[in-house]
């Protein structure tokens, strides 16, 4: 899977003989080393969840947010270098408000995803910029219904039913594929996401983690917000029980 570029990997403006841009692939590695981020599209909305690896026990719970609201109807979960992620979120927020003031309506999620992807891609074209070291999962609810997009450091953007990035993305994808998303409501989706994150968290390698979840669905009146506390606690409890049951087997 990984190969050293040896000479062709010093600049993002250099292709290798076999047609790869190594700097972009290294940027993707930065994403793969961060905590898992998943997003799923249920029949009435989107649920996103982040496995926030806690660096120090002194950190205040709830700080260092990884999920951000871009506009009233959409939100973004970031994996990879957090500072790079903040930059992309700022740009997305600015695109969204600019669209609203020019066209008089909330930015369609498809349009937002394209603009974010263009911005990420921009930074892979010039030698004086480095690519963003983060992957984005963008979920929103516009007049065409709920939509989920994923943007990679190369600037590729695709629309998904379920997406995962980060350390546990392979395991998470397998779990997501088991779910029947088209029949699931967001309430059930929240529980499912929590279970998946708890499951893919590697207790041996990383010690503590904090779960962060958000949704945008009919129940939240198509607004992007943190999952309500009671549902959140319910989801965490269900996830812990599921984990214990698995260990007990």
């Amino acid at each position: 899977m990984s190969s050293i570029g040896t000479g062709y990997d010093l600049s993002v403006t250099t292709f290798s003989p076999d047609g790869r841009v190594f700097q972009i692939e290294y940027a993707a590695k930065a994403v793969d080393n961060s905590g898992t981020v998943i997003g799923i599209k249920c029949k009435d909305g989107i649920v996103m969840g982040v496995e926030k690896l806690i660096a120090s026990k002194m950190m205040l719970p709830g700080s260092n947010r990884r999920i951000h609201s871009v506009h009233r109807h959409s939100g973004m979960a970031v994996a990879g270098l957090a500072a790079d992620g903040r930059q992309i979120v700022a740009r997305a927020k600015s695109e969204a408000t600019n669209y609203q003031s020019v066209y008089g309506e909330p930015i369609p999620v498809k349009e937002l995803a394209e603009r974010v992807a263009s911005y990420v891609h921009l930074c892979t074209l010039y030698w004086w910029l480095r690519p963003f070291g983060c992957g984005i999962i963008l979920g929103g609810y516009d007049r065409d219904g709920p939509q989920l997009y994923m943007v990679e450091p190369s600037g590729i953007s695709n629309r998904y039913f379920g997406a995962a990035i980060g350390k546990g993305k392979q395991a998470a994808k397998t779990e997501i594929e088991k779910l029947k998303l088209s029949e699931m409501t967001c309430r059930e989706g929240v529980i499912a996401v929590a279970k998946i994150i708890y499951k893919v968290h590697d207790e041996a390698k990383d010690k503590a983690f904090e779960l962060e979840m958000s949704w945008v669905c009919d129940e939240s009146k198509q607004q992007h917000q943190k999952v309500p506390d009671d549902l959140f606690e319910e989801a965490k409890a269900a996830a812990r029980t599921a984990l214990e049951e698995m260990d007990a087997d």
């Binding site: 020019v102 066209y103 008089g104 498809k110 349009e111 394209e114 007049r143």
Partner: protein, 264 residues
């Protein structure tokens, strides 16, 4: 008001434009008179212009200003449609017009009515009068009285000394009966034919009373099936109170056996 205008030469640009929603779409209507002062520069103009396949705009006020604004918005909407991958909504078209009107309010003098159909909201009408307000309404009329003649006139119902506002008030009140007509005649959930007949009737009433409106009545019907343009020539319109039958020549009246040139 433009203070650099030669105060002794009157120049007006009157118009009647109407936008009405009905069950399933909208009907836009307009007269066809473009006048500069007493001279009718174009007696068959088309004041309803296309912005996109599904959105049209009725123009009033300065002909140049309204044309430029619609040209810009047509261009922006075209680009927007390409980016979006689907037809633009009426709301977006109206917002673009509003931004141009508001941000250039010192230089422009144009009142516009944007009407169209899109798959999310159905038929919608937006009125954008002089200052750049954006108002969504089930129906709207614009009777542009045009620029003012500078005359010493004492207002009949207020004692203003300011000449600009006096004339404006008088002219305005002359056309305000059309608002009353609509308050009475418009109802929700009309059919396409009812709505079109209402528009034609209203424009023809305005033409009868407003010296700055005349010519033919043009209507544009927009709904999910598409756009239909209709044309009602001026002499085929219903005659209102005190209106004469069209005559070929006054000589016919004089030579006719009946000596009455006018029926009182």
């Amino acid at each position: 008001m433009d203070l650099n205008m030669d105060l002794n030469s009157p120049h007006s640009m009157g118009t009647t434009i109407i936008g009405v929603t009905y069950e399933g779409g909208v009907v836009l209507g307009a007269d066809s008179r473009t006048s500069t002062g007493m001279y009718v520069a174009n007696r068959a103009s088309d004041k309803i212009t296309q912005l996109t396949d599904n959105v049209y705009v009725c123009r009033s006020g300065s002909a140049a200003d309204s044309q430029i604004v619609s040209d810009y918005v047509r261009y922006f909407l075209h680009q927007h449609t390409i980016q979006l991958g689907q037809p633009a909504t009426v709301k977006v078209a109206a917002n673009l017009i509003r931004l141009l009107s508001y941000n250039n309010k010192n230089m422009l003098q144009t009142g516009l009515i944007v009407g169209g159909w899109d798959k999310y909201e159905g038929g919608k009408i937006y009125g954008i009068p002089l200052g750049g307000t954006l108002v969504e309404q089930p129906f709207t009329i614009g009777v542009q009285p045009g620029k003012l003649e500078l005359k010493e006139v004492q207002c009949s119902h207020c004692s203003l000394e300011n000449f600009w506002s006096i004339k404006y008030v008088i002219r305005r009140s002359g056309s305000s009966y059309l608002y009353g007509f609509f308050d009475q005649a418009w109802k929700e959930g009309m059919t396409k034919d009812e709505a079109e007949q209402l528009v034609v009737k209203a424009v023809s009433l305005a033409i009868a009373r407003d010296g700055a409106s005349g010519g033919v009545v043009r209507t544009v019907v927009i709904n999910s099936e598409g756009v239909t343009r209709n044309f009602y020539p001026g002499d085929k319109l219903q005659l209102w109170h005190d209106e004469l039958e069209p005559q070929n020549s006054l000589l016919d009246i004089l030579n006719s056996p009946s000596p009455e040139p006018m029926n009182i």
